[in-house]
């Protein structure tokens, strides 16, 4: 790859790589919200007291608790699209890693179900009457389920690119794969999730603020601290990860293939930090600063998702797969997909509009 991704690749491969990266980036947004949000809830549940129904000012944990089940649904739903494309791009690699991890891999599904119900449990009135320990344990349980899922995806990803280890792992039947990149990479995902969660939650509070719900005035400062800490920690994990990469992968990241994406991602971090610094001394959320922050976040996530792909492409030789991608690109149905994509996106927008059609007599849940 001596040109910027995806231009160095043949047409069909470039097409699927682009779709894959774009859809994965959406998955990452929701997944970050879930991962960091549940982590925050776990810590917060052990600490604070749960407020009564009348409330008091809205805090981060209220927003998170309220939206976490939906965000999880969204993360899972958004995961399906890249799951489709990864099977077209790297069929053999992906399937083999799945098969080698076997029960370990399949375990993410029951655990996600458990994690999901624990999130609903966190919203019930019942849990409000429980002690901080009980609430903390429930949130911690959910965190464990989602962390395990994240670990498994990272493990599966690294294994899929490490062909040489396949026969040995199979022979041992071990279902656990370790690679020196595993922990720093996972760490990057985990702490990198924090700024995403902060930005999304800030928007939610901004709208609550506009609707006149009393948002706790310390929230902008707290979120700013949290987000900046997340950025700094991700940079640290990123550095540790960089040291584990071999020279060719490093070359791709700063070279022609992914250099522009990497630069965009770094610039995105700067924008985010800047906008959080602007928020830190304030007692309310500002639209403009949040827009800058979101732009930065978009650059960082899109950039890093592309960099992630460039690293994979530097490790596995995709040229034998070109023919397979070209075959896939000849299959029919693309037009139907595009049409329904647009129609259904419009209908989803309509659903959102419909939720404004409140009847006179009713109350919102």
């Amino acid at each position: 790859m001596d040109r910027m991704l995806p231009f160095g690749l043949p047409g069909p491969t470039a097409f699927y790589v682009s779709l894959y990266v774009a859809t994965l980036a959406v998955h990452v947004v929701f997944m970050n919200y879930v991962l960091a949000g549940v982590g925050y809830l776990a810590v917060a549940s052990f600490r604070g007291k749960r407020k009564g129904a009348d409330g008091g000012p809205v805090e981060l944990s209220d927003v998170l608790r309220d939206w976490m089940p939906f965000a999880t649904s969204a993360a899972i739903t958004a995961g399906v699209a890249p799951l489709l494309f990864v099977q077209i791009l790297y069929r053999k690699e992906f399937y083999t890693a799945n098969l080698l991890l076997f029960h370990r891999w399949m375990a993410i599904l029951p655990l996600l179900i458990v994690g999901f119900y624990l999130l609903y449990l966190l919203k019930t009135p019942w849990i409000g009457g429980q002690s901080a320990v009980v609430r903390g344990v429930v949130a911690l349980g959910a965190l464990a389920c989602f962390s395990f899922t994240g670990l498994s995806w990272t493990e599966n990803h690294l294994l899929s690119t490490d062909r040489a280890s396949w026969p040995g792992l199979y022979e041992r039947g071990s279902m656990v794969y370790y690679h020196p990149q595993l922990l720093p990479r996972l760490g990057m995902w985990a702490v990198g999730a924090i700024p995403t969660m902060c930005a999304l939650a800030a928007w939610q509070m901004y709208y609550l603020q506009r609707k006149g719900a009393g948002v706790d005035p310390r929230q902008p400062r707290n979120l700013a601290r949290l987000a900046i800490a997340g950025v700094l920690l991700s940079v640290a994990c990123g550095a540790a990860y960089w040291r584990q990469l071999d020279a060719s992968a490093q070359g791709h990241i700063v070279g022609k293939a992914a250099g522009p994406y990497f630069a965009a991602a770094c610039f995105g971090l700067v924008l985010q930090v800047g906008s959080w610094l602007a928020h830190a001394p304030r007692s309310d959320f500002r639209r403009q600063a949040l827009m800058v922050c979101t732009l930065g976040l978009a650059l960082t996530i899109a950039g890093m998702t592309a960099v992630r792909e460039a690293i994979r492409l530097s490790v596995i030789d995709v040229s034998p797969l070109y023919a397979q991608h070209a075959d896939a690109a000849r299959k029919g149905g693309l037009v139907v997909f595009v049409v329904f994509f647009l129609v259904n996106a419009g209908l989803i927008g309509w659903c959102l509009c419909l939720t404004r059609k409140r009847s006179e007599s009713a109350t919102v849940e």
């Binding site: 939906f70 649904s73 969204a74 899972i76 739903t77 995961g79 399906v80 699209a81 799951l83 489709l84 494309f85 099977q87 077209i88 069929r91 053999k92 399937y95 083999t96 799945n98 098969l99 080698l100 076997f102 891999w105 399949m106 599904l109 996600l112 179900i113 999901f116 119900y117 609903y120 396949w166 026969p167 199979y170 022979e171 041992r172 034998p320 397979q324 896939a328 299959k331 029919g332 149905g333 139907v336 997909f337 329904f340 994509f341 259904n344 996106a345 209908l347 989803i348 309509w350 659903c351 959102l352 419909l354 939720t355 059609k357 409140r358 009847s359 009713a362 109350t363 919102v364 849940e365």
Partner: protein, 485 residues
């Protein structure tokens, strides 16, 4: 053929069809509940709006909670689970499905997104919305849910009846295949049935209704069972379009398939009979216990149906194209020459347990060709099935595997591999002794090769038609088998 070798996992005493069938039952049941639930709620919303049923609205909000909690979470994740499980059982099958139909799948995904969006919008805000907005959201939810069935049904029915796709390889010929419509309509009715039985359970479980209100709601919910009268018709239509051999499995050709089919039909008849006579005609009341029993019967019917669906495809996962053991029909001839496991990079997990190299080869052949449907000595275990056969009978019947039982694929390897497999079976049957002689007689290999050639590489046919499509005649097959029994 580059992607033929995948690591193959061992599920212990269980065969893989049971794994996918087992998860499939839950998933299909939940997904159909979600679809039928949408329809049922549109009906109740309409009743409420028109003032025809006072408690309809209260019921609706309660029912929707159950639907969201059960089907959004468990339904969606078991869906991903089906995908992952299919990868575990047969990566090549899902690989072909994804390659052929990825835009169909992507289209289905857009409907799934709409379903989630409309569902959550109703869940969060539904109580406070105008009737018009409620109805629209419910309709969007229902249409989206039903369309996800529409799309996935095309792919799943294609596996058994690929229709015109076999010749033109066009996505749409495959999608609108011969069993597309009967199976779509059948599943739609099943969805309504499950949803209205679940409604009867929920109506009884919500404490807030008076006896009269309950009776009223149950009468309404039971109306949604009426389409069940069409099920026999659709069932016959479905059976009429599936391949003849598959049809014969469920009509006595295979004991297991016939049994599962029987369970499914019997459970459906019980539900249908009770619904039509008791609920709709005589307007009986259903208690929570009876409703739960009926719902369990529906689960039983789904279970039987899913096992049949998995089972009747044998020996294919994609009819005429891909065998259950992940060998493509057009690769078979080449594998007969090169050997099926020659290029397999994955070692045995317990190589030390076999005393000779030949037995190790046999174990690899078993893993590659047979383990998807057989265990060695558990469910459908080879040592039970072939335990009484002589060595010669084993050689011949395995060489002519597709004629021994037409729901098995042709043997996909060379004569040496076949002999190694036969030796493995002998060794296993002998109780896995520590010493075992290698079978190296060239005459044996020549004889096996002759049988392989006689059997050919075309799929098997009904025993009574053997000879037409393939060189093996019933006479060469039967004596060996009868002596064995």
């Amino acid at each position: 053929m580059q992607d033929i070798s995948y690591p193959i996992n061992d599920f212990g005493p269980v065969i893989k069809g049971m794994v996918i069938g087992g998860l499939g039952i839950f998933h299909v049941f939940l997904a159909q509940f979600a679809i039928g639930g949408g329809m049922l709620m549109c009906y109740f919303q309409w009743l409420a709006q028109k003032g025809r049923s006072a408690p309809a609205r209260r019921f609706l909000d309660g029912y929707f909670k159950v639907l969201v909690l059960v089907s959004f979470v468990a339904g969606a994740l078991t869906g991903v689970g089906m995908w992952f499980t299919t990868i575990q059982i047969s990566p090549r099958t899902i690989g072909v499905m994804v390659e052929e139909f990825h835009w169909i799948w992507a289209t289905e995904w857009t409907f799934f997104c709409l379903e989630i969006a409309a569902g959550y919008a109703f869940y969060r805000c539904g109580k406070g919305l105008t009737d018009g907005a409620r109805m629209t959201l419910l309709m969007l939810y229902t249409v989206a849910a039903w369309f996800s069935l529409f799309w996935i049904n095309g792919i799943l029915s294609w596996q058994l009846t690929p229709g015109g796709w076999t010749h033109d390889r066009s996505v749409w010929s495959g999608f609108f295949n011969p069993s597309f419509w009967p199976s779509l309509l059948f599943r739609t009715i099943v969805s309504l049935t499950i949803a209205s039985l679940a409604a009867c359970v929920v109506i009884n479980a919500i404490g807030a209704f008076t006896r009269e209100e309950r009776a009223e709601l149950i009468r309404r919910a039971a109306n949604c069972l009426a389409p069940m009268v069409l099920m026999p018709l659709l069932g016959v239509w479905y059976l009429a379009v599936i391949p003849e051999d598959s049809r014969s499995w469920v009509q006595g050709g295979s004991a297991a398939m016939t049994m599962f089919m029987g369970i499914s039909v019997a459970a459906s008849v019980l539900i249908g009979g009770y619904a039509l006579v008791g609920l709709i005609w005589q307007r009986l009341y259903v208690s929570g216990a009876t409703a739960t029993l009926l719902l369990s019967l529906a689960f039983g019917a789904t279970a039987g149906g899913e096992f049949v669906r998995e089972g009747v495809r044998k020996p294919f996962t994609v009819r005429e194209y891909l065998y259950s053991n992940a060998v493509k029909a057009d690769e078979l001839a080449a594998l007969r020459r090169s050997g099926g496991v020659t290029a397999d990079p994955f070692p045995l997990r317990n190589a030390g347990a076999y005393p000779t190299e030949q037995l190790r080869l046999g174990a690899k052949v078993f893993r590659f060709q047979c383990s998807v449907c057989h265990t060695m000595s558990g469910v459908n275990g080879l040592t039970h099935l072939a335990g009484t056969w002589t060595t010669e009978q084993k050689r011949m019947n395995i060489a002519k595997l597709q004629h021994t039982k037409p729901f098995m694929p042709p043997f996909a390897g060379n004569a040496e591999e076949l002999e190694a497999l036969v030796q493995l079976l002998e060794w296993q049957t002998a109780g896995r002794p520590g010493r075992w002689d290698q079978s190296t007689d060239r005459a044996v290999i020549r004889e096996v090769q002759e049988w392989l050639d006689e059997a050919g590489t075309a799929p098997g046919t009904e025993p009574h038609t053997v000879g037409g499509a393939s060189p093996a005649s019933p006479d060469t097959r039967q004596p060996g088998k009868q002596e064995g029994r």
